[in-house]
């Protein structure tokens, strides 16, 4: 009977057809061994896909990983974390400082002076041998040149916010007759310059400068508004750091176009253009002007002292010729879009980027992989791997299986897996301190966290060593403050809080919390009770949540816990500072700029000082660090700040995790020495803990080589 036969044979046929496909599939061995090209490919696995491959626009880690391969910045950090030139061959930093001649102030020993007299006075002081304090001496010696800017008259237009809602801004014209001004060119940036000069020019010389005298408005204005404008237009003193980059000649983009200073300027313009909504805009906001001196030289002048500025130039340089206004216009027209509403964000460049990094972009299959080819004309020589492939495998377990099978060279290995793989002769494993730390933050606006003893006691009740040993399998270190532990800024003399539940109880008793009959801590009849929250999807934080809850329960604190989805966690709880205590981590850069996280001005909703830390001494240090260009002085400030924060315990600083990585032993560093012979070296992480630092020299060999014991 046909129906019956169809019913029986159809599924059998389907199943047989599906199963026979097994015989066509290459096994893992065939794949990793049989194919010699595989040795020239490096495949990295990642959980998430990139979003937008444009260094100016992206803000996710997957994108920046790819961008670091495709694009190249002017400089980056070397093995010791000091700056190293990339696209810039060299650079210089100096300062131009300005001040207006204050004709109403009396200079000690000179009297009221005009510009010429002040110049002569300063020059004389520079050469005089009379004893002065050392910092003044240093400031004076630092002055290379003093020049005179004659007085000037001009008109400024300001846009005031109109009091009536929904109306356009009100325009205010201001007539300015600026007095004479002096320009000091300094060899180095000096944040104490004016403070020191005031010692010889008179304490009031800079403070008592009255800008209001020199401006006139055409419309009547409120007094407060008026003096504010006056200060903006004629600031008594101004310090402009200047940064000059000399670019490396003959560097090419992947399409063969030569890199020049206009590309650097264009990158800046792209960031600052409000239409592009660049997430990096705040880094570049302090820039006053950027000029192209010649095709190989850029001169950048900053509005104010801002020492993290140098590091911002590690950003990948965009090719101007592909993204300038005409090109975007052309692209919009070709795509049938409105050219006036077409911004760089919509450009197809972001999905097919061209930079001048060691790898050039080949293909992006969303949620599958991104593949890059090595760039033969890379200025530092083409990398050894011919291809770099970034595979997206969202499941960690699947990543692990693909790694064993040899179809992935590196993956997000977890500490417990490292422990298992460490002794496997086929693999080499690395670990090193990462830039970031995990902490418990307390909302210091709320009781009982406004009491430092309570915060300290809470920290003492947690056995962090044990967490590191058992939860992280030793892949972590204790941390005591907000600086990256491998940098000089970290103050190693501060001891971490030791685990001491008894001591914690004593401290709490001092603060008024005592155990009641049931064992709960009480003060004025109220239980010590609060909620500890963290985000879902992070297994480590979830474990710490459970451990901390249990540890605090042991000393009689009634802790509730909550796991929230990331966006809800951030936007509803953190941004609105609506929490008691939370577990979170910061990943940080190398720059010691703590302004956003620790300065007391940043504790409003949606700002990052969500714990509400407020300490005037710390505030002062934070601002000083930001303005200091001298590394050693910065380190001094940082150590003091670290000490203060550690004493205040706004966070319980838990640990800095180590990154972990496992690689096949066959992957080595291949170098050609001066004589032209090829040398293989074992991969070693740098002192500061980056094992991919020499990635461009990596290669996979058919057999794992034997190295001498010392490597």
């Amino acid at each position: 009977m046909t129906i019956r036969r169809v019913l029986i044979y159809a599924p059998i046929f389907v199943i047989v057809f599906l199963l026979q496909s097994y015989f066509w599939v290459p096994t893992y061995e065939e794949q990793s061994r049989g194919n010699p090209d595989r040795l020239n490919e490096y495949i990295a696995a990642s959980i998430g896909d990139a979003q937008i491959l444009n260094p100016v626009l992206s803000s996710d880690s997957a994108s920046s990983q790819i961008e670091s391969m495709v694009f190249e910045g002017l400089l980056d950090r070397d093995e010791n974390l000091s700056f190293r030139g990339r696209l810039a061959q060299s650079w210089e930093i100096f300062e131009e400082a300005f001040f207006y001649v204050n004709d109403s102030s009396i200079i000690p020993g000179v009297g009221v002076a005009d510009a010429d007299q002040i110049i002569r006075f300063l020059k004389k002081e520079q050469h005089s041998k009379i004893y002065k304090d050392s910092s003044l001496n240093a400031s004076l010696n630092n002055i290379k040149d003093i020049s005179f800017i004659p007085s000037d008259e001009f008109v400024v237009t300001k846009h005031a916010e109109s009091p009536v809602k929904d109306q356009k801004y009100k325009e205010i014209k201001i007539q300015v007759s600026a007095p004479a001004r002096l320009k000091l060119t300094l060899a180095r940036v000096d944040q104490d310059l004016f403070q020191n000069l005031a010692k010889i020019l008179g304490d009031d010389f800079f403070n008592s400068f009255q800008a209001e005298k020199y401006i006139n408005t055409f419309q009547p204005l409120e007094e407060e508004q008026f003096s504010q404008y006056a200060k903006e237009i004629l600031p008594s003193t101004e310090q402009n750091p200047v940064l000059i980059f000399h670019l490396r000649p003959n560097v090419r983009f992947h399409d063969g176009h030569l890199l020049d200073a206009y590309d650097v300027k264009f990158t800046y313009d792209a960031i600052i253009n409000p239409k592009n909504l660049s997430p990096r805009i705040s880094d570049y906001e302090p820039i006053k002007t950027i000029e192209v001196n010649d095709p190989m030289t850029v001169r950048i002048v900053y509005k104010r002292l801002y020492s993290p500025a140098v590091g911002t130039w590690a950003i990948g340089i965009l090719p101007e010729h592909l993204l300038n206004r005409q090109s975007l216009r052309q692209e919009a027209i070709d795509a049938g879009r409105d050219p006036n509403n077409f911004s760089m964000r919509e450009s197809s460049f972001n999905r097919h980027p061209i930079g001048c990094g060691p790898y050039k972009f080949r293909e992006w299959k969303p949620d599958q992989y991104i593949s890059l080819d090595c760039f033969d004309d890379y200025w530092e020589g083409s990398p050894n791997y011919k291809q770099y492939i970034y595979r997206i495998i969202p499941d960690l377990l699947t990543q692990e299986m693909e790694f064993y099978a040899g179809t992935v060279d590196s993956y997000g290995v977890q500490p417990h897996q490292v422990k298992r793989l460490k002794n496997d002769p086929a693999y080499q494993s690395f670990s090193g301190l990462s830039f970031g730390y995990t902490y418990i933050g307390y909302n210091m606006r709320r009781a009982p966290f406004n009491d430092v003893r309570v915060r300290m006691a809470l920290g003492m009740a947690i056995d962090v060593e044990k967490i590191i040993k058992y939860v992280l399998y030793g892949e972590g270190e204790r941390i005591t403050g907000p600086f990256a532990k491998q940098t000089d800024y970290y103050n190693h003399s501060i001891k971490p809080i030791s685990y001491d539940p008894e001591g914690a109880l004593m401290l709490l008793k001092e603060a008024g919390w005592e155990r009641n009959a049931k064992g709960w801590l009480e003060k004025d009849g109220k239980r010590l009770q609060f909620t500890l929250i963290t985000n879902s999807g992070n297994d480590l934080r979830k474990s710490i949540l459970a451990i901390t809850q249990e540890a605090w329960k042991q000393i009689g604190i009634d802790v509730r816990t909550d796991l929230l989805e990331w966006a809800v966690f951030i936007q509803e709880r953190v941004d609105k500072a609506d929490f008691d205590a939370l577990i979170l981590g910061w990943s940080m850069g190398i720059e010691p700029d703590l302004y956003q996280i620790w300065h007391s001005s940043q504790d409003n909703p949606y700002q990052l000082n969500f714990v509400g830390y407020n300490n005037p001494i710390a505030d002062d240090l934070i601002v000083k660090i930001r303005k200091e260009y001298d590394h050693n002085k910065q380190v001094g400030f940082c150590h003091r700040l670290h000490d203060i924060i550690a004493k205040d315990q706004p966070y319980t600083f838990l640990y800095v995790p180590k990154w972990t990585a496992v690689l096949d032993k066959k992957i080595v560093i291949k170098e050609t020495d001066l004589k032209g012979t090829i040398v293989y070296k074992k991969i070693k992480p740098t002192k500061t803990g980056s094992y991919t630092f020499h990635f461009n020299k990596w290669i996979k060999l058919p057999e794992a080589p034997d190295f001498d014991p010392e490597g």
């Binding site: 129906i3 599939v25 194919n35 803000s59 969303p366 599958q368 499941d395 699947t398 099978a405 990052l608």
Partner: protein, 319 residues
């Protein structure tokens, strides 16, 4: 007939309208707002977050946003907030990836369920029936990801072949037959996982339909006439039992845009489910709403088609 079609179309459009409102409200009332900037990155200032809000019209009242969104959707101009890619193109790309899974899954479900179900009905209460019941329930009782991991570990450890992804990674140089078969192989396990539930449910349904029909008078008559058992079962009974299944073809339609987040993440399959899931996490409203809208259209279209089929197949129904 025509009036039925007309009425039904209008009804579906009204339903669709309400669906669009409800989904829009759910998304917008819920906590957590979309943003391309990470609010915990020190480099992002609140002003920038505000600018993004403006860019996405999030500062406008809800009904304006609703209008903007569906206006853009129907003119095909919606772009994802995550990466500024056109939403429809993105969905279409994912749809093409999910399609083979859907096709193989459906074929497996429909070819396997019938013989299994019919046989259990004919041998009701027997060993075959009971083991079929047992196994079909066994497969839908395993938590999907647990089953997937067990299968993957089993296949990889005992056959040493890759099963992850849409195709074996890094095969460019092979002949097209091998490429094709390779893809079929990668389809196999995820589609089996996807089909188990369907097979269990459908084969149960086939069984009960068959049982019901077998009890009818005309089947008894056929038996009494002295027809062979085969003819009775496969000609008289099966045909009538099949009637309701014709209408189920319409109900397959929504599966086109569905996709299991869990299976897709485990097998790193770049399909619809994962895209939608990631869109939820990133609060990428355009993607969530568009996927929702299309799936609502498919559901409604599916029921419409199945109503029509029912009318065509079953002469007793004339609405």
């Amino acid at each position: 007939m025509l009036s039925f079609i007309g009425r039904s179309v209008i009804q579906k459009i009204v339903t669709l309208f309400f669906v669009s409102i409800v989904s829009f409200l759910i998304i917008h009332m819920a906590p957590g707002k979309p943003s391309q900037v990470d609010p915990l990155n020190p480099k992002f200032t609140p002003e920038m977050v505000e600018r993004f809000r403006k860019e996405f019209h999030l500062d406008k009242p809800l009904y304006t946003q609703y209008f903007y969104f569906y206006h853009d959707l129907f003119t095909g101009k919606t772009v994802s907030w995550k990466d500024n890619q056109p939403v429809l193109a993105k969905i279409f790309e994912r749809f093409l990836n999910s399609l083979p899974l859907f096709i193989v899954g459906t074929i497996l479900t429909w070819t396997l369920s019938f013989p299994v179900g019919i046989r259990s009905a004919l041998h009701r209460g027997g060993l075959y029936d009971r083991s079929a019941t047992f196994f079909s329930y066994l497969f839908i009782s395993i938590p999907g990801f647990f089953f997937a991991y067990i299968l993957i570990i089993f296949v990889v450890n005992s056959f040493h072949v890759p099963v992850i992804g849409m195709e074996t990674f890094g095969l460019e140089s092979l002949s097209w037959q091998r490429m094709f078969m390779d893809r079929i192989w990668h389809l196999l396990i995820p589609s089996i996982l996807g089909a188990t539930g369907g097979i269990a449910v459908l084969s149960r349904y086939v069984r009960s339909q068959m049982l019901e029909v077998e009890g009818q008078d005309y089947v008894r008559t056929a038996k009494a006439k002295g027809l062979t058992a085969e003819q009775v079962h496969y000609k008289h009974a099966l045909r009538n039992a099949l009637l309701p299944f014709v209408t189920m073809f319409g109900l397959i339609l929504p599966g086109l845009i569905g996709g299991s987040v869990i299976i897709e993440s485990i097998f790193s399959w770049p399909g619809m489910g994962r895209m939608a899931y990631e869109a939820i996490l990133a609060r990428d409203y355009p993607i969530i709403l568009t996927v929702n809208f299309i799936s609502a259209v498919l559901v409604l279209g599916g029921t419409f088609v199945s109503d029509l089929l029912y009318m065509v197949v079953d002469p007793r129904i004339r609405l």
